[in-house]
Symmetry: C2
Subunit: 144 residues, 2 copies
Amino acid sequence: MANPLENRFHADDIAQADHYLATDPPADLDPRVERLVNDLIGRIADKWTLLVLELLEEKGTLRFTEIGRQVEGISQKMLTQTLRQMERDGLLTRTVHPVVPPRVDYALTPLGNSLSAAFCGVWVWAERNLETVEAARVRFDARD
Amino acid sequence: MANPLENRFHADDIAQADHYLATDPPADLDPRVERLVNDLIGRIADKWTLLVLELLEEKGTLRFTEIGRQVEGISQKMLTQTLRQMERDGLLTRTVHPVVPPRVDYALTPLGNSLSAAFCGVWVWAERNLETVEAARVRFDARD
DNA sequence: CGGAATCCTCGATGATACTG
DNA sequence: CAGTATCATCGAGGATTCCG
């Protein structure tokens, strides 16, 4: 895996990783790490996790139903599943209030916030290059 | 919206990102843009695209078979499909050499490179927080 | 309200075979 | 070598129901 930080992506804490990565062997890293990174990427890079992550970062603390309402198109099943997995991974906290009717609050942990920050670059890229990609598709589809 | 490469954020200083978002229309953005961004995220955030993207960024130009060999576990079908979609989106170029046996080279476009750069923060996050996440999972699974 | 449990479907993916 | 085409599967995810 190449050092993705040849360019300068400046989260101050991430700049540290720059140095950290630079110490790696030139070729590829430990296959074990490779596997785990891919696994992790696979988990976080799914549609719902991403959307919940951004929503909670923006809104702070939200209840189960509120999240469900604001994440367009998610089913209750997937919402539960996504939230559980994120909780398991330490990305958010789940707080059950012993009242009737039940009230469960979800909020990002610092780890969750840092992941959201890490994704910032991707969101910005997507917004900035939306039309470029659209144009590329039109051009591609127009070829014989 | 700021360029991520110029953008300075701290993982623990999400309040800033808050402010950063605050420069956008207060509520949510244009639904059309929102939809397209989500669509785009959905496309690029799949396992194979991500892996091919990083591989090509690292290795430069590669042939079809070389990519297939280096992306562990990908089937020929998915490789073709992934490469086509990336080509369609303008992320890479496909160069057919009229020789026998056929030779087809793939390489990232500037757009592809910029996307790879945008993902840089995520890869770094994954590498840095691998063990934190692992620990969180163990803790979660150990609860009653 | 915030889920858990069940059933069911459909589309993504793999396996296989064929070709310029 | 670099695909395309076809068939088969299998599991992610939706719909529905029930519950503390």
